[in-house]
């Protein structure tokens, strides 16, 4: 079920929210033992399973098995004081989780590559990737490691089940830590319904608008460009850069929109989910970028991969290798394809260069230069991430390098003449049509301005104290209500073109 689908917004969410809020009222006169919060947790867990099963009920046993096994291992670990025994259980858990991920996500990839290398040909049925498996597996790996380190305790199975399946974050994160969620389940849920409803719905609507109105619109520009490259078209400079820029905006507004919706939904149910984005395109270095982009994944990779690999504790050369390895595996986490590995390695190289730069120079680069270099590098790296294959990536890069001609003069000329057929034909010549033209001159520049200048949704609603927006911040006022209602109305009017979130495939 997609957050931006009418069945979620008009059926699932209202029913679950109302029943969830009704539980305390129904339990008011019950004995103490029948704690309403326990009911709420059980109810949310079951509702989350329904949410998951709506996509493909056949995979419900898989997620239940994953939860049951990991919970069982953590309980088993709790009874062991011997370090070796605890380590054995941890390794068993890691093998189980990585085996599950390996089979469902990477089996086809590895077999295809082995076949390619050995020139063999096995018949393997395509394995359908269970939605959200990368997220719920990583979350449970982190839990087992934290259990091993004795940083977290063992709660009830219901609470653990909800920690893994809580529907706002089940499909595409944010990746939450046991330590972040369990204390919230243990404290009575906030009773201030109106406060949660106001703030939660505001953040949710901003996310919905980002996805439906911005990401899906700029996708109409990026998709034909990448599609044309895949078909073998030689893209000119402007077209290739427009496509890459459009995808840069699409993925940001798509994923951060989803994350906002998840955070907003969490607040509706009285649960705070961690922030996943902090205006990443404002970053003035690539290290800064990774502290702002998909923050929960970055934190996970740092805590459970980079640091266990040795981090920066084993000399500078090893540190750079660790960075490259972490980023390459981070790329592979996104999908079983070499394109994602290239994307990860590119970012690994960027980060390594950034560290080297900091070490060898004492010159402080002006922020605007830092920002420009970072932004361009990030745009370049998104190309393999989006492209269907290596050939498409190379064609895009050829276009961006101007190897197929730079049609800039013919592009600019008609802008100052008439925004009519002539202009459209310039785009048609570049493989784009009038609709793409409209997006290129309106929504794309606006989205760039929004991502670079405006405060992000969590800053605006003061949920995140990462920046200050002063008197322009959100207030529960008529003006804010009008603005948010406008965003919601536009989103509702665009429900006819509901599309999947990009990160659902990961």
């Amino acid at each position: 079920m997609l957050f931006n689908s009418p069945e979620f917004l008009f059926i699932f969410l209202p029913i679950v929210f109302c029943l969830y809020r009704l539980i305390p009222l129904l339990c008011r006169d019950r004995p103490e033992a029948l704690n309403s919060q326990d009911f709420q947790i059980k109810f949310l867990f079951l509702a989350s399973l329904c949410f998951y099963a709506y996509w493909r009920w056949q995979y419900l046993p898989l997620i239940l098995m994953s939860i049951g096994t990991n919970y069982g291992l953590s309980v088993w670990m709790a009874g062991k004081t011997n370090q070796k025994a605890r380590k054995f259980i941890l390794v068993a858990g890691l093998l189980f989780n990585l085996g599950l991920l390996g089979y469902f996500k990477y089996a086809n990839f590895f077999i295809t590559n082995i076949q390619h290398l050995t020139s063999t040909n096995y018949n393997l049925d395509a394995i359908i990737l269970p939605i959200g498996i990368s997220f719920f597996t990583f979350q449970q790996i982190a839990y087992l490691v934290d259990r091993y380190r004795q940083q977290v305790g063992v709660g009830s199975l219901w609470r653990y089940g909800l920690f893994v399946t809580f529907f706002p974050q089940l499909i595409a994160g944010p990746i939450v830590h046991h330590a972040q969620m369990m204390p919230q389940f243990d404290k009575p849920f906030k009773k201030d319904i109106w406060n949660n409803l106001a703030l939660g719905s505001t953040i949710f609507i901003i996310g919905l608008f980002k996805k439906i109105a911005i990401a899906d619109s700029v996708a109409l520009l990026s998709s034909p460009v990448f599609g044309a490259a895949q078909q073998g078209a030689d893209l000119t400079f402007v077209t290739a850069w427009l496509g890459a820029l459009a995808y840069t905006m699409q993925i940001y507004f798509d994923f951060s929109g989803y994350s906002d919706m998840a955070v907003g939904l969490g607040i509706l149910f009285g649960i705070r989910l961690p922030a996943n984005f902090n205006s990443p395109y404002k970053a003035t270095s690539i290290i800064d970028f990774w502290q702002r982009w998909h923050m929960t994944l970055s934190q996970f990779l740092k805590d459970y991969l980079y640091i266990p690999l040795g981090g920066n504790r084993c000399g500078s050369r090893r540190k750079l290798i660790n960075i490259l390895l972490t980023m390459a595996l981070g790329g592979l986490w996104h999908g079983a394809a070499w394109n994602f590995v290239i994307w990860g390695v590119l970012h690994g190289i960027y980060i390594a260069l950034n560290h080297l730069w900091r070490r060898i120079t004492f010159v402080h680069m002006p922020p605007v230069f830092g920002w420009a270099i970072t932004f361009v590098m990030v745009v370049i790296a998104w190309v393999p991430f989006r492209a269907a294959d290596l050939d498409t990536t190379i064609r895009l890069y050829q276009g961006m390098a101007g190897l197929n001609g730079i049609s800039l003069p013919t592009f600019i000329q008609p802008v100052f003449q008439q925004l009519g057929d002539d202009f459209a034909q310039v785009f048609a010549y570049n493989g784009l049509g009038p609709i793409n033209l409209w997006i290129a001159v309106t929504i794309l520049p606006m989205s760039i301005v929004v991502s670079l200048i405006m405060p992000n949704s969590l800053e605006w609603t003061r949920l995140q104290s990462m920046g200050t927006v002063g008197r322009y911040s959100w207030q529960p006022s008529i003006a804010s209500a009008t603005y948010i209602a406008f965003l919601l109305s536009i989103s509702v009017l665009k429900f006819n073109d509901v599309s999947e979130f990009l990160y659902f495939q990961f």
Partner: protein, 309 residues
């Protein structure tokens, strides 16, 4: 620590905010929807073939009183030369072809408009055979509707989807931009939209349509056409538009089944088979006659329709 009073006041503020948010959303969405509905009613929508539609409407509104009227889609527009048919039949002929985007629904409305202005002897309905594989053209119906009452023919869910659609708002915006000077690139030539380059035949294309691909809902507007003709004493005849001969050869069971469907609605069928086009007669689509073969196609259909004249 927040006192009880300030907590209540804060809760009231948030409650007011949520209420305002809901109210404004309902008002704004409702306002957009009403605007779109009004736009449909007043021809403010930027439909892809609006220029053609207006061109055909101007024929109906002219003083001409045709004896024979052709209504249908682009397969008709490219196949029948009204002047040639007039020469062959000796009767006054009008070709009011729209496009596939208007479907049978648009054809139904065109017949109603024609009969409002005049009472022709014969109405010939011609559509491409593969129209049966397409969804009902509700959008085309709304664009050509005669009055608000016509909206009752459209399922409620479709109406909601149509009127709560941001693209419709953008469509109206485009209409206004166009009126203020944006050029319209559709060119009417030889009584219909000028064709693009001839279609390149790809031997690997699939030219076989099966009975399973038929959308039985398409009967809905055919039935309405048949009932309307019957109620108004109009002689209405159905003819299959031209089709690439490879389709004719490989989709015989499809053609047979669609003919049965048309007959089941009460309409008479003038052509057992579509006019099957050889590659050199083909225009810019599988069902478009090349401009140089239009007269020949007209002659073909004249022979088929002669018994009804």
């Amino acid at each position: 620590m927040m006192s009880q009073n300030s907590s209540i006041s804060s809760s009231k503020t948030f409650r007011g905010y949520v209420r305002a948010l809901l109210t404004f959303t309902v008002l704004l969405s409702g306002g957009f929807s009403l605007l779109v509905a009004y736009g449909y009613q007043h021809g403010w929508m930027d439909f892809a073939f609006i220029k053609l539609y207006q061109y055909q409407l101007s024929k109906i509104e002219s003083d001409a009183r045709p004896d024979i009227v052709f209504v249908g889609d682009s397969s008709l527009g490219n196949a029948i030369d009204a002047d040639e048919f007039q020469r062959l039949s000796g009767k006054h002929v009008q070709n009011l072809a729209l496009t596939g985007a208007y479907g049978y629904a648009g054809t139904f409305n065109m017949i109603r408009r024609v009969t409002q202005a005049n009472n022709p002897e014969l109405v010939i309905i011609m559509h491409t055979p593969d129209i049966f594989t397409r969804p009902i053209a509700y959008d085309g119906y709304l664009h050509t509707a005669l009055s608000l009452k016509d909206w009752r023919d459209i399922p409620f869910s479709i109406l909601v989807k149509t009127f709560t659609n941001f693209d419709a708002v953008m469509s109206m915006a485009r209409t206004f931009v166009r009126k203020s000077g944006m050029p319209d690139n559709m060119v009417i030539s030889n009584d219909y939209i000028r064709q693009g380059p001839a279609l390149n035949l790809d031997d690997n294309s699939n030219h076989q349509l099966s009975e399973a691909s038929i959308n039985l809902e398409k009967k809905m507007f055919l039935k309405k056409i048949s009932a309307f003709c019957g109620d108004n004493g109009l002689q209405c005849v159905y003819a299959f538009g031209p089709w690439l001969e490879l389709f004719c050869q490989q989709s015989q069971s499809f053609i047979k089944k669609t003919k049965e469907i048309v007959i089941s609605t009460g309409l008479r069928v003038a052509t057992e088979q579509p006019k099957c086009l050889s590659p050199n007669e083909l225009g810019d689509a599988w069902d478009h006659v090349a401009p140089h073969s239009k007269k020949e196609a007209t002659s073909f259909y004249f022979k088929k329709l002669q018994p009804f004249l």
